[in-house]
Amino acid sequence: MKTGFFSSPHVKRLAGCMALAFVLALMIGNQEGSQDDYGLAFRQAIFSPRIILFIAIGLLVFAAMTFWPYITPYLLRPGVRPLAVGGITVLVSQTLLKWSDDGRTGNGKFNSVASKAANTDGLAPMAKLFFSNYLGWILLLVTFGLGAAAILLSLRALAWVAAVLGVVGGIWAYTSQAAVRDFLGTPDHSTGGGVALIGYLTLAAAALATALATGDIADTRAFVNRLLAWRPGMPLVVLGLIVGVIAFVQATWFSPQGSNQTLTDTKNFFQGNGLANLAYQYLAWLGYVLFIATLLTAAAASYLRHKILGWVAAGLGTVALLLSLITMYDMTDLAAAAGVDGATGPWQNLGSGAWMACAAFFVLAGAGLVVATLGGRDEQDESAPAEAPAARSSDTLSRGFSAPGSSKVFLFVILATALFYPPTATGFWQKVLVSEIGIYVLLAIGLNVVVGWAGLLDLGFIAFYAIGSYTTAYLTGALPYKPPSFLHLSPLLAIPFAIAICLLAGVALGAPTLRLRGDYLAIVTLGFGEIIRITANNNPGNITNGPKGAFGIPHPRIELGPIKFVWGQNNLQYWYLLLVLIVIVVLLFRRLEASRLGRAWAAIREDEVAAQATGINTTRVKLLAFAIGASTSGVAGVFFASQIGYINPENFVLNNSILVVAYVVFGGMGSLPGAMAGAAVLTWLPEFLKDQVPAEDRQMWIGAVVLLMMIFRPAGLIPAKRRAAELRGLNRSSSAEVGAVPEGEGMGARA
């Protein structure tokens, strides 16, 4: 009887939920203690009301799991997913994100801003209303509740109300934040209002889906596909419309000390100050006209699927983008000459508005291009079975959303973000973007070749990064031994040499280890990484300058006749350089994946014996995987060394190697977009968590995220399709049978 009780699945589930609630309660808050009192954090977690909240969450989860079969019919209804996503997004914006960067608002989060704003006289009344009496929270609850009720009761009228409320709530939240920003008048990079807008609009979309639903069961993917297929490029037009309207009507274009000037303010600011005529006209009227013209052309092209109009829209968008950039240059150059707010050169004191306008033009031009190239050669390549499908592409975007042009839509959105978001970010995030996110994305792309495509576990990958960095240091003359002076190279010219050295190093590591598989290979590569680091540290023959490392590595510069470009301290400049490098590498590697070599990698990863039997030179192919994977870390090494200016062996510790492997696995082994996304997310997360949890807790939270990911989505963020299949249980373990190792390659005696 008793054993029966404890082995009942309900009891086990309840115990599990309670245990998880308890662990979560312990994880929140400071993990502090003192010399006399080790258990402070523990008691805080247990005895304060916090534990009750978490036990309530645990009970909720338990109830949800137990009554799952009764819940699922509702969960499958249209609108549930966007409702959940939108609700969570708004929740995140109001709990985790900052609503103001100004020190006068406390920590800048929603609650602290709201409590200050509610008691501030002179703030725009609508904004004041939004922040007072918990109205922000009530609005979220009501909108979400109405949406949920509409789904539950299948009431279309209610859904329409929720949709309207969602749109109103989003705009209200966004404008309220803007009002606070205008009131405080300090430069502001906080994202709370913007994210809340996105969340509310998602809620509105959910309600709309409920209102317009025809069936009882939602098929989100089919719906999104239909949406994308309806008018190719239309999503980009809509995005361009939203971003552009915000840019031209409301956002800050120019922010000299203590003032956030919108476009009209900026025009007035520069009026009669000798601004170049074109730029002035742009500020006065040309900008609006260009925006409307481009928007209408793009919309018409997309709606009519008119190719020529598409080209016109693309051209207009490009011209408008260039004009925007010229205007931004002119006005900031003038402001710098006049010494406005201590500006020392062009491109300073710009607000987000100008960059958002650029993004809008870019996206609209993209929409035009999507329409213009529709049904062209590329599209046919995507839809028709290609000639070498064995490892065609791991591009899950185009697989999941198969509507024509949809992969381009995603591409343009990502590119627009990568090009025009960074200038509006804070200096801190620009630094993170360059020295963490960008570099590790490059490294992850390289390791993905070795681990993801060829299936060889490499735990010493950072060694190639070190080799690339030290090669740069040598070639630029920053090490004790210098090359002859006529050979001193600018860092960018060092890239091919660093790649060559890394290719050689890849072969040098690969050749002796090829006969090893799996765990054995991992251990040897781990040793290789340590050898490189310790050699650099021990400084044999005074080559590497020991623990002091190399310093005074020059920054990159390009001087080609009249074109002169010198990189300095500004992280933004390095970001664009890095972006160019990443784009080149990605383009090359995409081709590689679909090539004969890519197919050969796929084959040896699948089954080495069979690969050999089909005539693949496994030795050569594996060596190439090591070498080509290493080459991107050579590029990353050059970039790192010349950006930071000094390197030492401490930059290349084992921990970094393991992190890169984790990024690739997290993102989706064998998938190029996955590896990049994995690296980006996992390098962004610790910096984001800085504002959310105590510093010493960050690793714990990252660990929790990785753990959850591996439980619920083991194939990674953007899985390669083959990898996903493997985890679904097709992995009939033929590789367990180690089988025929050629004697020439075998480890000698084989029992």
Partner: protein, 238 residues
Amino acid sequence: MSLLEVDGIEVRYGAIKALKGVSFEVNEGEIVALLGANGAGKTTTQKTVSGMLRPSLGEIRYDGKRIDGTPAHELISLGICHVPEGRHVFPRMTVNENLEMGAFRFKRPDDKLQAHVLDLFPRLRERIKQQAGTLSGGEQQMLAIGRALMGKPRLLLLDEPSMGLAPLIVKQIFDIVREINNDGVTVLLVEQNASQALALANRGYVLETGEIVLTGTGRELLADDRVRAAYLGEEIAS
């Protein structure tokens, strides 16, 4: 002149001598069976021929040229295609992709040949877009053979195609092997299933602990008392 001549090869796994001077020959257009118990050295012999192993002594001549020690991927371009033991398909590639991998040595797969292979194995045509890992054992064996055929073999090495398959499937596969042979492909077959293999083969060799102990035409071997006792499990009145 015979297509394949194996002349006194010895193969070692470290200290263990797996083959102790094996000699045999395969003539163009023949089906030759290598028989033997587990551990007799059949698979080792075949891997040595296909270039996956290197003999420490002896010579292998193919079409009059020495090929011992030549790596497997070069032998394939000479037309020696190997279907390794235990099927070894690429489980997460589709049937179609598997077949295309078989034609890896060519710039692009031969569509006519692929159609012919699919005619030989109609089951594969039905499952052309299915992932190979989801196929049954017999279908996987068919796929492995079909994939080898995509490499346009002159000499096809088949290692235990009947392993772990139901008798009906085995019969189908052996029928197909005969058809392949009728197309002009020479076949070297390693089998434990002596009765079926010998019924199919023109000639056979019996291996025991790394040596050839018996040779003859398929019919002679089937009639041989020792073969009957050892491989067909028949009681022989002494």
